[in-house]
């Protein structure tokens, strides 16, 4: 099925201007987003930013103070969860302990007036699909964490929901199982083509699984985009530091289009990264990811090169993280980090207290309003 081409499928789930307060505390502030049919959207943000609340509003478990929720052409804003046709998987899985895996999966089907043989067939197919074949007769307590999670997922998709909602579905599992299940859930979701919203606070999970990511902070949606867009072009310093690491160099002053003065140095930025609205002579923050900070011997005097002192060298497995002290003139110094392959460290013979030229590629620097 070609989903992108079908116009009806774009904006299949539409969430508009949601506001939600608990007492005087505003948990969601004017949140809007859309999801195409078959898309996996990940909601990412720090603890307490309102991810779960957003999911519960979409599910119909919390009533929004204002705003609307549409699925297809149905306005679900005032519907209870039982009439929204959503599948939901909680962090705790909430498997019924007194029912076997089979019975858990069949639970929602029983009320749908299906024939027993049809239910059996459907449950078998789901067990097969989620790699639970042969485990159907076990009780949840007799299954491993990963298996329980798969039963929960099967139970949620058994009733063919329009929207699948996952609240931190993998956070109760250990790291290895988590990585494996990430892939499995993603494949399953794509095979079924079910529109999915997954809440997580694990950026790696979001980056590897999602078609698009919504980044939230303090009840507000701060950025949405593909994993690539979010990583490469974080819209705010918050997003930049929340996803991956980011070096910030404050106290920059805009001299001209693409030219910034940092202390006694001048740094050029290509493309301006949407910061055209910063006025000349006004303050800015420059940012660059550690993997983009280059250490170049013998390239002094070139544009965007500043000499820095090596503060610390930290072993990180495949690479080293080098702490650098960047003099900005006078006594002002900025600490930044650079990620470098081990091979380069030994080739350049880099050691602590060494002074080396550091290069900031113009197309890798980002600019934020101070």
């Amino acid at each position: 099925m070609s989903q992108k081409a079908n116009l009806k499928n774009s904006g299949y789930l539409r969430v508009k201007n949601i506001d939600k307060s608990f007492g005087s505390f505003r948990a969601l502030k004017n949140v809007s987003f859309q999801a195409d049919r078959g898309e996996l959207i990940s909601v990412l943000g720090p603890s307490g930013c309102g991810k779960t609340t957003l999911l519960r509003v979409v599910a119909g478990l919390e009533k929004q103070d204002s705003g609307e929720v549409f699925v297809g052409d149905r306005d679900l804003s005032n519907y209870p969860i039982s009439k929204r046709n959503v599948g939901i998987v909680f962090q705790s899985y909430a498997l019924f302990p007194n029912l076997t895996a089979r019975q858990n999966i069949a639970y929602g089907l029983k009320t749908r007036k299906l024939k027993k043989s049809e239910i059996d067939r459907k449950v078998d197919a789901l067990l097969q699909l989620t790699g639970l074949k042969g485990l159907g007769r076990r009780y949840p307590a007799q299954l491993s964490g990963g298996q329980q999670q798969r039963v929960a997922l099967s139970r949620a998709i058994a009733v063919s929901p329009d929207i699948l909602l996952l609240d931190e579905p993998l956070s109760a599992l250990d790291a290895k199982v988590r990585v494996m299940l990430r892939l499995e859930i993603r494949q399953l979701q794509q095979r079924l083509g079910v529109t999915t919203i997954m809440v997580t606070h694990d950026q790696e999970e979001a980056l590897t699984m999602a078609d698009r990511i919504l980044v939230m902070d303090q009840g507000k949606l701060v950025q949405e985009g593909t994993p690539h867009e979010i990583y490469e072009h974080p819209a705010t310093p918050f997003v930049a530091s929340f996803i991956g690491s980011m070096n910030f160099i404050g106290n920059a002053v805009k001299q001209d289009q693409g030219v910034y003065k940092v202390g006694e140095h001048i740094l050029h930025v290509s493309g301006e990264n949407g910061s055209a609205q910063i006025k000349e002579q006004s303050g800015a923050i420059l940012a660059i990811r550690p993997e983009n900070v280059m250490i170049l011997p013998n390239e002094e005097g070139r544009a965007n090169v500043i000499k820095a002192q090596v503060e610390a060298i930290e072993y990180r497995g495949a690479m080293f993280r080098v702490g650098l002290k960047l003099p900005l003139g006078g006594d002002t110094k900025v600490l930044i980090e650079s990620d470098m392959p081990s091979e380069k460290i030994s080739r350049l013979n880099i050691s602590e207290n060494m002074v080396i030229p550091v290069h900031f590629p113009t197309d890798r620097l980002r600019v934020y309003q101070a």
Partner: protein, 574 residues
Amino acid sequence: MIKTTIAAIDTEKWIRYTMILMVCIWLAVVVVLPLFQLLSKSVVDLEGNFVGIANFIHYFKTPSLFNSFGNSLFVSVMTTIFSVTLGFLYAYALTRTNLPYKNFFNAIAMMLLFSPTLLNGITLVYLFGRKGLVTLGFFGAIPGWNIELYGPVGIIISEVIFTFPQAVLILSVALRMTDARLYEAADSMGASGFQTFITVTLPGIKYGLLSSVLVCFILAFTDFGAPKVVGGNYNILATDIYKQVIGQQNFIMGAVVSVVLLIPTVIAFIMDRIVQRKQVSMIAAKSVPLQPKINRFKDRLFLIFCGFISLVIMGFFATALFASLVKVWPYNLNLSLDHYNFNRMGGGGYSAFFNSIKMSFYSAVVGTAISFTSAYLIEKSRGMPLMRQAAYFLSILPLALPGLVIGLAYIFFFNTTSWNILGFYLPNPLNSLYGTMAILVLSNVVHFYTVSFLTATTALKQLDREFETVSESMSVPFYKTFFKVTMPVCLPAILEIGIYYFVNSMATVSAVIFLYSADIPLAAVAVANMDDAGDIAPACAMSVLIVLTNVVVRVGYGLVTKGIRARTEKWLSK
């Protein structure tokens, strides 16, 4: 448009809303309104005119009435001191020493929970009464010892026996909860045993200690059975209420004394609620269980102590059983079942016994159903916070009400044929319940409601909050999940509540003594009446029957439900 509106109606929510509302209304009708009626009777004169606190002034100015208040306080405080001290030592031995046969010692203490306070009194009469075993020096074998049983001494001993297992229960929980790491820290700082006790043990169980003090006080302060048997001429509030109402037919003064009884009880009750809330927040923190160190001297000392207490308890039950079986105490000690032939006696005999079983069974079924369903609705519903809080508060309230107060309030409430509200006569639709089995069952359901409700709530809290949500998301109606998941998983707790209702309904006398009618005699009431008439041996026999029934039911329940409990444990093990 209309279709959308209909689809948007959250039927489930409305059903739940209605049901919680019904819980509130039901509790208002069976608890608040009767209580209100009782309170209002305490401020009117015999003609029903409002007289403010005149009745209370009269009460406090009349020494024969007011003395009882001091007497009640005295016996309850003494009981509390003995009970908590002994209970603490016993619980300490069970939790903090290497006492052998801990299960046995625990079971012996818990045996006392089966003993109605009437039986405590009667057994004491056989031990320390005018012709008691000890008073006569074991039928002349050794010099006799008269402890002046009738009066405060007898009441206090009976109440200590009654409250001791409660103190052991509460204090064992508190002692078990303390974090072992604190003791390790104290050890590492070289604190002596006594220092550790003062600085670690006592602070660690302060809430448990307070709670046991309050609970023992309330139980002793409001008990009716023991003082009825061994009180003699020593008046206390509980017996005063009975005498005012049954003896003198002075219902107004009965209501006044009830209020006097109710006030300290409610205060102690509120304090206990606060203390328990604090204790719960303490349990929430993770703690490492303590492994008692081996200390020969200490372990021996506690073995002797527990051995002694157990012997006393077993001797106590043996005396009761023996006394019910001898022909004529203390002159003819040949065994016979004569006293179990109640036909010659007043009080109803075996029909009373079987009525009691019937009543207890109905109370168990109805009480369990209502308390569990209410706990479910309150615990597992989303939204409606105010209604749920109101329902929760009303569910806790009955615990503060002594049985006598419930009984008297029910007389007032259900005996009224109509109320005069601002000149309008509102007939009482519940009046027809008066004098029926239904009102007896109802009084038991309410009397033992709170403990059942809290047991159910605790069990429900252990289930995942999202069971309901997940079912709803699959459009499965909530009652289906209630029957298919919630109830099966909570089955052990449900059965436990049923047993609790049965056992207590069998033994209770305080509420039902006001409410039974001549054509529905009850076993526990028969005990009181036979004792009144001086037929103490059959009274003892009937009490023994009550205790035996409860033991059989409890043990049978344990055997029958072993499989169920094992199955549930398997489900819930992670």
